[in-house]
């Protein structure tokens, strides 16, 4: 999909100039403790460096489908997308177009949650916006409310096959779902599937981490590099940040 750069950016984000610190990455996590719970001590977020993202690469979108059992029905009006690749360009063509993945922004002020009549959509304590599929009635108010087109209704039955991920439910017909920051992996101290795939592809365009931890790679980068969020003018405070837009 190609979109106008100013449309995607809205009025743009805050510019902070500074030094880039070398990212320290030690992600071999010890097995998680027996009992864990979401807590407001964390604030999960993502940072995507569009300079490192390649317009031909679909590693993240493929990984998301594989990890979360998100099928493709082959009908553009009905297909489920938790993460999409966008091409955006400058209206005056002063800059080359850029390619970036777009998923749920896990907004701090999520209109999707505000309009949900059943409280199926809610913000977890650590900032992840989730859909409780057991409560969702498929009314699709949230799809209208989300300005990022992050949500999809599952129009058709889906089924499990030998390639499905047994750890994750298959998508249920009649409920609205979206990127959940791979909450099952994050709760186990792992990184979301798209981030892992991007790294395995050698691109390292996506980082995921805790904004409440000032030492985390993502906090350091957001403090020190110019980053933006999409349509910051809407005031939803997205937590997917972009570098190089």
């Amino acid at each position: 999909m190609t979109m106008d750069r100013r449309t995607v950016l809205g009025l743009g984000g805050v510019a902070t100039a500074g030094v880039v610190l070398a990212p320290g990455m030690t992600l071999i996590a010890a097995p998680p403790p027996d009992k864990t719970e979401a807590s407001s001590d964390q604030r999960w977020a993502m940072l995507i460096d569009v300079n490192k993202c390649d317009s031909n690469c679909t590693a993240c979108t493929k990984a998301c489908r594989q990890e979360n059992n998100v099928p493709l029905f082959g009908d553009p009006n009905r297909d489920i997308h938790w993460i999409r690749k966008l091409e955006i360009r400058d209206k005056e063509h002063r800059r080359p177009s850029v390619s970036l993945p777009v998923m749920c922004n896990h907004c701090e002020n999520p209109p999707c949650a505000h309009v949900c009549p059943t409280q199926a959509t809610f913000i977890r304590k650590d900032g992840i916006v989730l859909v409780d599929k057991h409560r969702c009635i498929g009314c699709r108010y949230c799809m209208l409310a989300c300005p990022y087109k992050a949500r999809s209704l599952v129009y058709h039955e889906t089924s499990r096959n030998e390639d499905s991920n047994p750890e994750v439910p298959i998508r249920a017909k009649g409920v609205v779902e979206k990127c959940n920051f791979c909450v099952h992996l994050v709760d186990d101290g792992k990184q979301p599937a798209c981030v892992q795939a991007c790294r395995n592809e050698g691109k390292h365009a996506m980082i995921f981490g805790d904004l409440n931890d000032p030492q985390s790679e993502i906090s350091v980068k957001i403090r020190t590099v110019k980053t933006q969020t999409i349509r910051a003018d809407l005031g939803l405070k997205p937590h997917v940040h972009y570098e190089g837009l």
Binding site: P32, D34, K35, T36, E37, A38, F122, R124, K125, D126, L130, D132, K133, H134, R160, S164, P166, P169, I170, R171, A172, V183, D187, D188
Partner: protein, 130 residues
Amino acid sequence: MRSLQSHPLKFTVLLALVWAFVLVLPTMVVASGSGADVTQHSKSAYTGGPPQLENAKGEACIRPSDWMRRNHMDFLKHRRAQTVREGLRIRSESLIKCAECHQSREKFCDQCHNYVGVAPDCFECHSYPK
């Protein structure tokens, strides 16, 4: 005159009642006496016989078995809500742990669920851990 006329009427009614009783009684005996018939009838709905639970591996359940028998549905549903909404994950009490002892859903969960005719739809989306 009046009594002569009303007497046969009363007698007829009484006779009818007696006959009705005589006719109905054997039917009642058949209905209550032959349990086989009743089972035969309900067999079209359920074919598995009384629940035959496979012996669980493992030493003991995470809760006393009789408590579990009565409360597992509320327990699971409460945990489900806590897990989805509060991110509570207790790894020693997850469904993966259930499946370590009760390895076959068909030979465990489904046995009673089919017998009592309840159809929880958990496993239409989730897969029972292997």
